[in-house]
Symmetry: C2
Subunit: 216 residues, 2 copies
DNA sequence: GGCTGGCACGTACACCGTACGTACGTCAAT
DNA sequence: ATTGACGTACGTACGGTGTACGTGCCAGCC
């Protein structure tokens, strides 16, 4: 039983495990210490405070994104691949996702995805300002999508599990469209929605690309 | 001094005020009670618990969105107007925004925007499934944008305030694009970014619209 | 008058983050 | 070999948190 020597990394992964197992609310310094079988205050030898620990969690999750896009591919394929890679975190660490997107990390951990995206767009012929705009647009879309997938933003199932009677209490004639489309709103194929969004964005920036080419 | 009679509404608005004044971390039942000049436990006569109170805050903020789009306008103009209306909450209640988007409300409070959006898209000729997809796409984009504006998602200023020396410590040759575009990443015109995104989305779904028309 | 129900409130408990002090190991210089 | 400095583990304690529970007040009704 040679307990290996407690480190920032061990603490962070313990926190991630705990979050995935019991949710972000279960995280407390005492709880993590117990999980690791150490005293509470020992943690503070490796992490300045809880906030920094949570930042560490966010960075760790973010830095696990694996970019596998092939530089020889078409730039649209590379964008697709990168977007999907980013989305993977929502599948690997669903309960951590909220934490990742809700914490502004000043560190460089989140910079790799941006670097990759910018490089791809620049190589596709976009100028600097346009590339930055695109990246911001994609990030906004991806972040918003992940929040929906993780369940914090609603899919807009209108109360949804009230399938007792056919009619819902919430949407009478006040919300005609919502109630008419309730079945569609209730079911959400996250994969399909995400792919739809990505394709639409790619298609949109493609025509923008073509238009610029024609103009210049 | 006829202190009016404590109510869920008074508690919620007190919470909103407090959040806007001192941030979400300042919220505690004791603090809100003090703010209202009442005992802590009195709050529980009107609100089941803190979580429900925060949901109340989210609902209240969300329900203050004012939709001013004219049904006679072009559907693209109505979409623009609705998107901007939604974004207004980030300006009226910047510190509450995170709370609004991060809390899944099962209530009907968030349903009005969806109803309006669906109605607009349906009247533009989209069928049910497409309309739902569009709404989800727009919401993802808007939510992601608001998170950036509110400062939780970074604008990707690379350390940004290290304008001491010209070069940054974080981006050597490892992040060539990021460092090359640092000035652009550092500055973010939220209005312009948002409008750009909205226009791009509208343009994209317009061509999708036209394509369907041609096909059917 | 007496009863009932809602509301305001105090107390108490379990838990939280963390400042501070302490004890113990290992290494360096004496 | 002794001493000292230093990094790490950890216990205690303080001020804060959400809220279960009990108590007292007062209005409305029989």
């Amino acid at each position: 039983m040679t307990t290996e020597p407690l480190s920032r990394a061990r603490i962070v992964t313990a926190a991630i495990d705990l979050i995935e197992r019991e949710g972000a609310d279960a995280v407390s310094m005492r709880r993590i210490a117990a999980e690791l079988g150490v005293g509470v205050m020992s943690l503070y030898n490796h992490v300045p405070n809880k906030d920094a620990l949570l930042n560490g969690v966010a960075e760790a999750v973010l830095s696990e994104i694996e970019f596998t896009d092939d530089p020889d591919d078409d730039w649209t394929d590379r964008v697709r691949t990168q977007a999907r890679a980013f989305r993977q975190i929502a599948h690997h660490y669903p309960r951590c996702t909220m934490l990742v997107v809700s914490r502004q990390l000043s560190s460089a951990a989140g910079l790799l995805p941006v670097e990759r995206a910018l490089a791809t767009l620049r190589s596709a012929g976009f100028d600097g300002p346009d590339a930055v705009r695109m990246v911001r647009l994609f990030i906004a879309f991806i972040v918003g999508s992940l929040l929906r997938e993780v369940g914090v933003t609603p899919t807009f199932a209108p109360v949804h599990h009230r399938h007792l009677a056919g009619a819902e209490a919430v949407d009478p004639a006040l919300f005609p469209e919502v109630s008419a489309l309730a079945p569609l709103l209730g079911a959400c194929d996250h994969d399909a929605e995400f792919e739809f969004g990505v394709e639409l964005l790619i298609q949109a920036i493609t025509v923008l690309h073509a238009r610029k080419e024609g103009t210049h």
